[in-house]
């Protein structure tokens, strides 16, 4: 097949390593690989005709991917069961936040200033929730859920790492942008973030403290510097104690470092802090100079590293730069020891200097860097290479805080059509993942609902594919459709259920569901079917149905109205209320609710009533009945109209011959009356003569009375 048949993600983002330049169509059943040996995945855009391909997360040669977050995650990858409570919990937060946002938008819509409506709307303004505050609360909750899930003992290592990375990105964003609405100093929180996100392993410290003359180990001073840069007394103190025990002569120096670390003033926006900071900084600065330290360190080999240690505490930029093993340490060290009142808004400037130290180009690193640099246009594409959960929720919160204008970035998300916003694309893709899961489709629906451009269409495409597992689930689906005004989708469900019920012999339920699907022709056909069974075989199923269906359903279709009236006639007849029964029967004729194929059956009922002295059918009514009788008898469709009764004769004849015994399954009456034999039609015509005579006699009686 032709290469270059489709454009790839790499076309959109040339900067990605291991980019895929072209896709190929492989034979059915084989797995494709690009030159970089990625497994290629493709997704059919649910609402379009295009196929969008992208590199999968796992290399098909069985090797681990170059980087965990390097390539986009496999959209079809199964969601681990352990993750479900997390996804449910965060979905609750997301839905709640978007509901508040919707309320807020409603309250901001222009409204009239007169009358009660205006008053209500103003009240709405006063009560409108503060969406920014809600978004911050939600962000805190997301972070809590991420951290608590990533620390669970019962999840796999890869899951732990994936969620650890997401927690890292979210928390950083929280510290620098989401919670920091007044641009406060963030040094202490960043230190905490650094220590939690890239922790010093206790083993690294214990390995050194258990060796003799640890300071001569190559790892000792870099680790001590790392602990100092992070202001981590937990790790620095044991190393300093070990240093003092190996070199008792410099114990006072190590104690000084410990004291300086312990006494480091935490930033407060007041004059006293600045004074304390200046004093503390001066002290550290004194020791960081060679002349200050040299007289107290006899061992020349220790002087230089100790000078570096004091240099870090004194905020010496070049020392901090040299000592930091990763750029995040550099940034945090600079903030802690050089610019303690550093604010988020100052970060881009500092990041310029840190740029040269950026590490491996993973999606997480790109996201972290973008957050530090406040470059949301770089953050958002980076997020799409991670879990879709992170992309959908983080962009949503940033969007609600008006930190990003997501409308400018489109087309970065597999499956997106390029017409929706970036946020919508992320939410849409995430919703698609959820809807493919048997436990999560319900929350997937909620995410789709929040995709204004393509969500409802996606729901329409998805709802028919949700496997129906129980009646309760059907009711839940219908409740969702009705609440969200998804009328056509509700109809689709009703139609499917109706067909299922009809096939299982649950005619009453089938009628209800077809009525609710507004399938009036099908309702008419089913009603006629069961009425035909009554006429031909005497089956009374229709009476059960007519007596139990709710009035709303019964009123929704002409055939049902006829069935209801006819059922009422039978009830009156059973109660020997012949006058009432006769009156109702005449009404059925005059109101034209009965199909003509049942007129003859009704006229049989009339003739039964004519025998009763209590039933008084007046002159006009008798005329009308006679007219009806002649109308079907003289019609060119006479055989159709007489057909049902003719079939009854046929069944009777077969019963007499023993061929018409009930065999367990109902025999559907012939829909085409013409199929009834000529002999049976003639029998019916003879009976018609009896009805006619009865009507004439009644007319004469009515004229006399």
């Amino acid at each position: 097949m032709n290469r270059n048949a489709f454009s790839s993600d790499a076309d959109m983002d040339d900067a990605q390593p291991d980019s895929v330049n072209s896709f190929q169509i492989w034979p059915q059943g084989s797995t494709g690989q690009d030159e970089a040996r990625h497994t290629l995945k493709a997704t059919l855009a649910p609402l379009g005709t295009q196929l969008l391909g992208f590199p999968g997360s796992v290399r098909s040669d069985g090797q681990p991917p170059v980087s965990r977050l390097q390539s986009r995650p496999d959209l079809a990858a199964p969601i681990p069961e352990s993750r479900i409570p997390f996804l449910n919990a965060t979905a609750g937060v997301y839905i709640s936040l978007s509901n508040e946002n919707a309320k807020d938008r409603q309250s901001q819509e222009p409204h009239g200033s007169f009358g009660k409506f205006g008053e209500d709307a103003r009240m709405g303004d006063a009560q409108a929730p503060d969406v920014s505050r809600s978004a911050r609360e939600a962000s805190g909750r997301y972070q809590q859920e991420l951290q608590s899930y990533s620390q669970r003992a019962d999840i796999g290592q890869q899951e732990k790492e994936t969620f650890g990375d997401m927690a890292k990105v979210w928390r950083l964003c929280n510290i620098l942008h989401i919670q920091n609405q007044n641009d406060n100093a963030v040094g202490e929180e960043l230190v905490q973030w650094l220590n939690d996100s890239y922790p010093i392993q206790p083993r690294e410290v214990s390995d050194l403290t258990e060796t003799v003359l640890a300071s001569r180990q190559p790892a000792f001073w870099p680790l001590l510097n790392k602990a100092l840069l992070r202001s981590s007394t937990k790790h620095a103190y044991p190393l300093l104690d070990k240093l003092a025990s190996d070199h008792p002569a410099i114990k006072d120096i190590t104690e000084t470092i410990k004291n300086l670390m312990g006494e480091r003033p935490r930033f407060k926006a007041n004059d006293r802090y600045h004074q304390t900071w200046a004093e503390w900084h001066g002290k550290a600065d004194t020791y960081s100079r060679e002349r200050g330290l040299q007289p107290r360190v006899a061992d020349r080999a220790l002087l230089q590293p100790l000078l570096e240690a004091f240099g870090i505490l004194a905020g010496n930029a070049s020392v901090i730069e040299g000592a930091s093993g990763q750029w995040e340490e550099y940034v945090v060290g600079m903030i802690l020891y050089l610019h303690p009142n550093f604010r988020t808004s100052d970060l881009p400037e500092l990041m310029e200097k840190a740029r040269g130290k950026f590490g491996e180009d993973t999606a997480t690193n790109r996201a972290v860097a973008a957050i530090f640099e406040s470059k949301f246009d770089a953050l958002m594409p980076a997020l799409t290479y991670g879990e879709w959960w992170l992309a959908a929720h983080l962009v949503d919160v940033l969007n609600k805080l008006r930190l990003v204008d997501d409308s400018v970035i489109v087309g970065e998300v597999p499956g997106s059509r390029g017409t929706e916003s970036f946020l919508e694309s992320c939410v849409f893709t995430y919703a698609g993942q959820l809807c493919a899961h048997p436990s999560l489709w319900r929350i997937g629906f909620e995410y789709y609902l929040r995709c204004p451009r393509v969500g409802r269409a996606a729901l329409t495409a998805t709802i028919p594919h949700i496997p129906i597992t129980s009646d309760f689930q059907i009711r839940k689906l219908l409740a969702f459709c009705n609440f969200n005004n998804l009328r056509d989708d509700a109809f689709t469900i009703h139609r499917a259920v109706a067909l299922n019920r009809y096939q299982n012999g649950r005619v009453g339920e089938a009628i209800v569901h077809y009525c609710l699907a507004e399938e009036h022709q099908k309702v008419a056909a089913i009603v006629e079917g069961i009425m035909d069974q009554f006429v031909v075989q005497g089956d009374l199923t229709w009476r059960d149905i007519a007596s139990t269906l709710s009035p709303d359903v019964l009123r929704s279709n002409d055939r049902l109205i006829f069935m209801t009236h006819y059922n009422r006639f039978h009830s009156l007849y059973e109660q020997t209320d012949y006058a009432g029964a006769a009156k109702l029967l005449v009404e059925i004729f005059t109101s034209h609710t009965a199909p003509k194929r049942y007129w003859l059956t009704l006229l049989y009922n009339v003739s039964d009533l004519l025998e009763s002295p209590q039933s008084s059918i007046g002159m006009e009514a008798t005329y009308e009945l006679m007219r009806c009788l002649e109308e079907i008898v003289t019609s060119h469709r006479k055989d159709d109209y007489l057909g049902l009764e003719a079939q009854r004769f046929d069944v009777k004849a077969k019963d007499r011959k023993g061929k018409g015994k009930v065999t367990g399954k109902r025999k559907e009456p012939e829909r085409d009356g013409g199929r009834a034999g000529k002999e049976q039609i003639e029998n019916v015509e003879q009976e018609i003569q009896v009805i006619r005579l009865g009507l004439v006699r009644n007319l004469a009686r009515a004229m006399t009375l």
Binding site: E81, I84, P85, F86, N88, A89, A91, G92, V93, I95, S96, N99, R141, P438, S439, L440, R442, I443, E446, P467, T469, S470, D471, F472, Q473, R475, K476, A479, F483, N504, G505, R506, V507, G508, E509, V512, T541, D544, I545, S547, T548, L549, S550, P551, D552, V553
Partner: protein
């Protein structure tokens, strides 16, 4: 509509999937611990889970939930019942695949006096003549000296009666309704009551062959599809049903030809479950697709009083905006539990909240 809103004290995301039923075990394990059964509706991934709920020994407020056992089932869990009585704890579940499972649940104390829950399968059978015909609801015969009957309703509107120990169906009634039966409860030790999607209820004597007569409101506007039914714990003539339009309906069926119906507007969406308070039986708890649990106080209607109910409390959880499918109140500890589509269990102790004369309490609950 109720104005006051309370928050649940506890929210635990402990279920794998959407919860269809939640039921308290009949007796507390001990003074500070209860047993809770939940069932999910996730198709092939559905399960029943048994949990132990620890209560604060001082206040009896729910403190923590520890997951004790998960039992995978075939099909959605459509109903869960504990067998009443003083015997060993027995849980009966029904599924959409037509299978009834019976489990014994026991709390066993170890040497450290910590109690662990043990679950053992006792019996499994189908009531509808084989797998495939799902069960919509089941109920366990009350006041039975031993071996109570289990009544179950199939999606084909048949009703079966059999004992927990036996495999054979003792009695079966076919095509009881032309439409769907959505709820089932034993009204007395011999009579069951069913609710239907056509808006009527029906009482059926388990001893007779008659299907009984449908009972419905004379007012057509109150003939709305019903989703659930429950029976007053001390007055079997009083039934409560939850409707598709959010109404809670109280039926007085002493006059079968003209049952009295009290309508309480409880919710804005489908009422999925309704329970009378086991000890303070004029309080009725309902849960709904609107994401709230409502506890209403109902009193006997009198000729002069139109308003026959007092709204008491509405509970919601800000972070559980989806439908709540099941609710239950523990008879001794007064703890209300609810669960729904987000798979989490929501709990609060009812007596923690006061009542005001006006019937509406507006206050802030603890998160």
């Amino acid at each position: 509509m109720l104005q006051g809103q309370h928050l649940f004290e506890r929210r635990e995301h402990d279920q794998i999937g959407k919860v269809s039923k939640v039921r308290w075990g009949p007796t507390p394990v001990h003074q500070s611990s209860l047993i809770l059964a939940t069932g999910t509706y996730n198709g092939l991934k559905s399960s029943i889970s048994i949990s132990q709920v620890l209560l604060d020994p001082q206040s009896a407020n729910p403190l923590d939930i520890s997951h004790a056992a998960a039992i995978p089932v075939k099909g959605d869990v459509t109903d869960l019942r504990w067998v009443p009585g003083a015997g060993p704890l027995t849980l009966i579940s029904a599924t959409s695949s037509g299978i009834i499972d019976i489990h014994s649940v026991a709390a066993i104390a170890d040497r450290g006096k910590r109690e662990t829950i043990h679950v053992e399968p006792l019996n499994q059978f189908t009531t509808q003549g084989g797998e495939g015909v799902g069960i919509s609801a089941l109920a366990v015969q009350p006041h039975a000296a031993s071996n109570p009957w289990i009544a179950s309703v199939g999606v084909d509107a048949s009703i079966s009666f059999q004992t927990a120990e036996g495999k054979e169906v003792q009695k079966r009634m076919e095509n009881v309704e032309a439409i769907q039966i959505t709820g089932l409860e034993w009204r007395t030790s011999n009579e069951i009551a069913i609710a239907t999607s056509a808006g009527h209820i029906r009482q059926i004597d388990a001893r007779s062959r008659s299907k009984g007569l449908p009972l419905s409101s004379h007012e057509q506007k109150h003939r709305v599809p019903l989703n659930c039914i429950t029976v007053h714990p001390t007055q079997p003539d009083k039934l409560a049903t939850g409707a598709e339009n959010g109404e809670l309906q109280i039926w007085d069926v002493r006059n079968l030809s003209d049952p009295e119906l009290t309508i309480l507007p409880a919710h804005d969406g489908n009422v999925w479950d309704v329970r009378f308070h086991p000890t303070s039986a004029n309080d009725i708890a309902t849960c709904s697709e609107d994401g709230t649990v409502c506890v209403m106080q109902w009193r006997e209607p009198t000729s002069s009083v139109v308003d026959t109910y007092k709204p008491i409390r509405r509970f919601r959880d800000k972070n559980h905006p989806l439908g709540i499918n099941s609710v239950d109140i523990h008879s001794e500890k007064d703890v209300l539990v609810a669960a729904g589509d987000l798979g989490c269990t929501l709990m609060t102790r009812l007596s923690r909240w006061g009542r005001s004369d006006g019937g509406v309490v507006i206050g802030e609950g603890a998160a």
